[in-house]
Amino acid sequence: MSALLSVSDLRVEFPVGGLMARLRGAATRIEGVAGVSFDIGRGETFALVGESGSGKTTLARALNGLQRVASGSIRFDGQEISTLGRAALKDVRRRMPMMFQDPVGSLSPRLDIRALLAEPFRIHGMSNRDLDAEVRRLLALVGLPADFASRYPHQLSGGQARRVGVARAIALDPELVIADEPTAGLDVSVQGEVLNLMNDLRDRLGLSMLIITHNLHVVRQIADRTAVMYLGRFVEHGQTEAIFTLPHHPYTAALLSANPEPDPDRVHDRIKLPPEVPSVLARPKGCEFHTRCPFAQADCAVLAPDARQIGSDVLTCHHPLNVPAPAGMET
């Protein structure tokens, strides 16, 4: 087994409510990430999809030590990192940097691009390198002209700022890049450029990537494997192509069938879900998706489904879709 990142039963909790709530005996903590396990192999791209609030960003922040882990394990290159202190985490973050959501907002407005690109080297005590040369190398790597070094973030377009974000992330030869919504807010043509760049860099530098997005078209173009999150848990994960071709969990199937397509004549055969998303403050009993699931049966409201495997897919559902009739069953 040569997984670069290996996460098992990871939980992240947030305190909620005040003293009164506690005296009433109400819940005092909610689980933002509620027991998630997965591996990312070397050179592999793994995508997290799910709606806003499903725990994608919290999970990513926990991996990077930006969010305290309540329980579970995170192993990076064989080393347990969920319990590391600040100093040791710094080295982990060098090898596993994060690209934050807002392309312009994640760059300091008071630093020019040269300073922004030199910053990772300074933080990690590598200022003795020829920083000007590094800046030139990075700009070239992400396809920006060398004279951009003297510009400030507000002078860049969203796509250009995103390229600077990519350059910062890859500055110190990382092994795994965590990208939170790398294409959100970018237009389709610029989105294509950024994805092409990331795909290209991954191949050239042998990177692993964890991509968070709610754009399913992006997932299909970039991810080897995909996990679908709902209320802080994975409801289904496996090979991207297999999931897109034959989703087994009803939520995955609904997401894929919902996806609007640029064709006004297209007739949609959609799985409709009631839009009332439950809150993590009051998780439904049994299968947590049963309140919205059009295929739910009596047992779904009572019993939480265990993880099961169908092909390359791991999912939590009592009554998965698109399952071939079991072999050996005679009629």
């Binding site: 389709v188 078209h217 192509e241 397509e261 006004p264």
Partner: protein, 326 residues
């Protein structure tokens, strides 16, 4: 039916005074939003969508000014000539807006009921009657148990529900025009589709015209009747959704549609993009704004292209618009 379109914009130009010189953000923009229809606007960031909305709402920044053109609401007043007080009377009443981030539209420390009552401040109804209208409106946007919901705060609503509350508030005063600025961007695909369907139903029930801004082409195709395509502050093409998605004639529109990964049903090595970058709006050169990035560009393109009407309602600003058909 008949009557004037809900919104008619003719030859609108808007400039901003910046330290580095005058930036022309909109140039000769013309289109109409017919009564009871949904019109979509697509275009990349920086194409002038926000400037256009702010011009309609009378909310341009201090350094921005309308340098030409007319914005007519329901065939009556020219909005570019109204003063701040008159515009304030229009906003929320005859034109209302839904923004991308519903949390930003709602006040986190006031109950939803209080906020819905507050936006009816111009009405003479009693508090109880106002609350009854709020409940009716929440029911109309399919929020279950609306009476109880009035006492709750925004954080007690999920993202999709908050957006529906924002839509309810925008439609409260039965506006003639609803401007929706990327209202589904923060939602997952199932909620996005639910929101689109809700907006379609509400538009039918209330009968207002909708101007819907999105860079999600699939959403535009599904929701809108008409659409306009903007590039660098100009409307390069407009027409019905079918005319554009099935027979785009402007090279920019064609390239934009080509880039949408939703068109690709399998993984490709290299995603299509539009080579080149947006032109500098501070030094607009004469001629076609897209010519530096256009594969078809020829000598004609150094002079400003005409708005060519290709079919009723289908207009492209390109010298070669007619040829592209053959």
């Amino acid at each position: 039916m008949g009557g004037a379109p809900t919104l008619q914009i003719d030859g609108l130009s808007v400039s901003f005074a910046t330290e580095a010189g005058t930036l022309q953000a909109l140039k000769d923009v013309s289109f109409t939003v017919p009564q009871g229809r949904i019109t979509g606007i697509v275009g990349e960031s920086g194409c002038g969508k926000s400037t256009l909305i702010n011009s309609i709402l009378g909310l341009l920044a201090d350094n921005g000014s309308v340098t030409g053109g007319v914005i007519r609401l329901e065939g009556k007043e020219d909005l570019t000539r109204l003063g701040a007080r008159e515009m304030r009377a229009l906003r929320g009443e005859r034109i209302s807006t839904v923004f991308q981030d519903p949390m930003g539209a709602l006040n986190p420390v006031l109950s939803v009921g209080r906020q819905m009552r507050d936006i009816q401040y111009r009405s003479n109804l009693s508090r109880r009657e106002k609350d009854a209208r709020s409940v009716a409106m929440l029911r109309q946007v399919r929020i279950p148990d609306p009476e109880k919901r009035l006492t709750q705060y925004p954080h007690e609503f999920s993202g999709g529900m908050k957006q529906r509350v924002a839509i309810a508030m925008a439609l409260m005063m039965r506006p003639a025009l609803l401007i929706a600025d990327e209202p589904t961007t923060a939602l997952d695909a199932t909620l996005e589709v639910a929101t689109i369907e809700l907006m379609k139903d509400l538009q039918r029930e209330i009968g207002c015209a909708v101007l819907f801004i999105s860079h999600h082409l699939g959403v535009i195709a599904e929701l809108c009747d008409e659409m306009i395509v903007m590039y660098a502050g100009e409307v390069v093409e407009r027409g019905s959704v079918r005319q554009i998605f099935k027979g785009a004639r402007h090279p920019y529109t064609q390239a934009l549609l080509e880039c949408d990964p939703a068109r690709l049903h399998e993984r490709v090595k290299h995603l299509p993009t539009i080579p080149g970058t947006l032109p500098d709006l501070k030094n607009r050169s004469a001629g076609c704004i897209f010519r530096d990035r256009c594969a078809k560009a020829g000598p004609e393109c150094t002079t400003t292209p005409p708005d060519v009407e290709l079919a009723p309602g289908h207009v492209a600003r390109c010298w070669f618009a007619k040829e592209a058909a053959e």
